[in-house]
Amino acid sequence: MFVRRLLWVGVLLVTVLACGHLGGDDTRDREFIDGLLQRRLFTLAEAYCAGELAAGSLGVKRRATLTAELVRTHAEAAVQLAPDQRADRWRLAHQVAADFLATHAGEDFAAVVQRQDAWVHMIRGQLARYESETAVAPERLRATAGEQLRRATVAFEQLEQQLEQRMVAANRQPGDRSGTMKSSQLRILHRDVQRQLAGCLLNRALCFAAGTPDRTSALTRATARFEELALLTDPVDWPSRIGQLECYRLAQRDEAFQRTWKKYLAEAPSAVAASLQLQLAHWHLAQDDFQAAWQLLEQHPATPAALAAEWDFVLLQALLAGWRGEGEGPAADAWAQRVTRHMQRIQANHGPFWLRRAEALLGRHIATSATVDQFALLIRAAEAFYRAGQIDAALDAYDRAQQAAVQTSSDEQAFQAALAAAAIVHQRKMHSAARQRFATLSLQFPNHPRAAEAHWLAVYNQAQQLKEGMAADGPEYAQLLAEHIRRWPQGDTAGKARWWLGQFHAAQRQWDKAMDAYQDIPSHDPRFADAVAAIARCYQGWLGQRADIDPVAQRRLALEGIRFFDQIHGSDKGTASAGASLAAVEAARLRLYGLGAEFAEAARQLRRALDQTQSPPPAWLPRARLYLVYALAAQGEQWEEAHQLLEQVEGVTAEDLHEFVDALARLLDQRRTAGRKEIAELQLKVLDIQSVRAARQEGGRSKSLAMARAAALAAADRREAAQKAYEELVERYADDGLLQEKYAQLLLHGRQQADWQAALLRWRQVQRHSPPGSPRWFRAKYSQALAHQRLGNTPQAIRIIQLTEVLHPQLGGPQMKTRFAELLQRCQQAPSADTSR
């Protein structure tokens, strides 16, 4: 007997344990996920659900439960994110539900996932409604809220009908079947769906303004559903009873609210009492009785964790109402302190979602109250406005925060507030306003570590204004840059400011000011080499401006530039830096082309630079070699070395090539006998080098290069080639007077009668196309006389000279007059043919 009883106890024990084990998985999952979501550990919750779902041996019930929890995890995670980051989470939530429903359509437990999917739509709608209350453009958010809540409502209604049908079917066929829900489970789910449906209707009502027919209609439907659910007693549906009270409050049915509230309070367990107190607090606030609401919430015992966030949010509403009621004065400051502490509490305890709602609420209060001067609150409100896209309100709040900080002598806070406001304006590319803000900020706090950075942003915005064509801001831009350099000469941005200032002045062709700015860039600055090159360009521009106007000033300028570049190059010992190498080349260039003297010194400097420079900047090497060739040619010595250097020239730019050829042509013009042929040979060589042929095609100066080549052939005494080159040129460019003149000169310097005859005809053409009395016209008359003299027609030559002198006594200037006189004398002394010039 005893053994039989023991056996029965053992069987009972095993049975109880087995049932507990079999029925416990879902509850444990839900509780576990709840705990993770409360702590906002969304990744862990997601990983847990996905890991469990990946196991192939799950029953459909547990699979449905885990899927629903995964959907809830995605939705909860989305709620905590900023509005522009939520899309992926919403998509995942719906995708998970859709995947499950696709593979388990028609099964009972699919209803669990359907319910969860509809709930996600409801949450989305609710969230959009919350955010529409403080948005700049609430219409779009209200439309989203309406659309999501409508979908949720339709889904819940469909699910409600499906569940009712299944409940009927389950009643007809009682008994547990694998994969199907029991009648009790169906009933629980059905009730939940009805509750959610009533909640959807309540949320849809709140999407409409108070007093509108749409709101009244939705509220009435929600009230009816909640009242029906509130009548249930097994078990009591407390969420629906809370919902019922909320509907009474929103519908302003105060008597019904009071009566029902008292009744429910008497019956409610302690876990529900807090929710009822919360509803009463809402009711007090609706009655503008913030004191009662505040006392109720502040002094009530500890609330359940699930309600804590909403409790604190409603308390914040009461505190703000109390603050607003006090206006100004010590009492208002006390309320402000309470609000500040409470905001910190919400931030510490309730996560980003509730913090954003709280800040939005605070922002609305601050926007409507001009007397708020608490720095922390103003900053919070400014951030809330910025996130909501209310930029003007955000800027206003930041400005007020700055003033509040200044009043309390908190420079750091004032700076940060002003910087944030300026950064917003800068981000929105409002350059004029941004410049003003940054400039004012940096000058107001010149000793702040970030003052230089703020001032630099003012400079940047001013530059953007210039770039957009607001030319009137040019002088202000230069002043701003100069101010930046003056105030923070050693700062990180000082070098860049000097560079920009130099570029500005160079663009205005204010060469001296540009050079002053560039010269201040220290040698250790990464822009030093560029600055040296820029200074060289300034000298070129300046010298070009003064050419033929003021030779003395031009010479002085060239000497000044040489001294400057020598100083840079000379200060480098051993291996030359990029800047020093550039300086050496530019100093040589000024000597050779600007001054037209000190050729030996230029050659020495270039040789030293070529030996010392390890990593020359691009285009530096061919340029340095070309200058050295010129220096040797100008000295009239070391022709072999010059030829060798030319053969090493590679990668020369078109600009450098043209400059070199022009310089050699000028040198050729200056030389009458010594070195003339050698210079011409150099010029021909540089034009024929393979590596420079590409550069010849660039820059649209092929004509001038061809003319230089023809002149070089003539100077090198290759008459036939020169004549052929000129014939081709005059045929192509018949209108070019200079070309015609050069060709006629070549013919006149021939050795045969046919040349002189041809020269005479050419000079007649030149004369005909030249304005009478112009320098070319006088040269043409002189050359005609000379041609006649060489052809033996001395009397005609004399007549030409005499008549020209009679009609144009100045004879084109002292130099031409002398030439005419000398030719006349020769003609009168020796009337026979004379080939001397």
Partner: protein, 136 residues
């Protein structure tokens, strides 16, 4: 008695033998020179004149007084113009002289220059006209 018809014929013969025309009118140039141009084609110009510049005398009229320019060189008086013309004539007397008066210049001053040129021996004296003036 001598018949009247005889007397008439006698008088007619007498007048025919004694009549003479003004030479200057025969040799007055009738072709007009376009200002800045040349009436002669290049192949018609004698060889010694090809490279010799024409003398161009411009006459202006300002504030009731004339002013002169010879080959773009201003001259203060007709005497200076005469000096230049004389020097040019000494070099080559058969180079063309072109007289280019402004529209407001009285004809008398134009004839002065013309007479001066003739007196110095220039034979080819032409008057300039604008390109729009049709040539006669």
């Amino acid at each position: 008695m001598t018949p009247m018809i005889d007397v008439v014929f006698l008088l007619l013969v007498f007048f025919l033998c004694t009549a003479s025309f003004q030479i200057h009118e025969q040799v007055l140039p009738s072709s007009l020179q376009i200002a800045g141009g040349t009436a002669d084609r290049p192949e018609d110009v004698p060889q010694q004149l090809v490279d010799l510049e024409h003398v161009i005398v411009k006459i202006f009229w300002q504030e009731g007084r004339p002013s002169w320019e010879v080959n773009r060189t201003p001259k203060a008086s007709l005497a200076e113009v005469a000096d230049v013309l004389a020097a040019a004539a000494a070099v080559q007397v058969d180079i063309p002289v072109i007289v280019d008066p402004a529209a407001a210049v009285p004809v008398g001053y134009v004839i002065e220059v013309y007479d001066l040129s003739r007196a110095l021996g220039f034979a080819k004296i032409q008057f300039a006209a604008s390109p729009d003036t049709p040539q006669t």
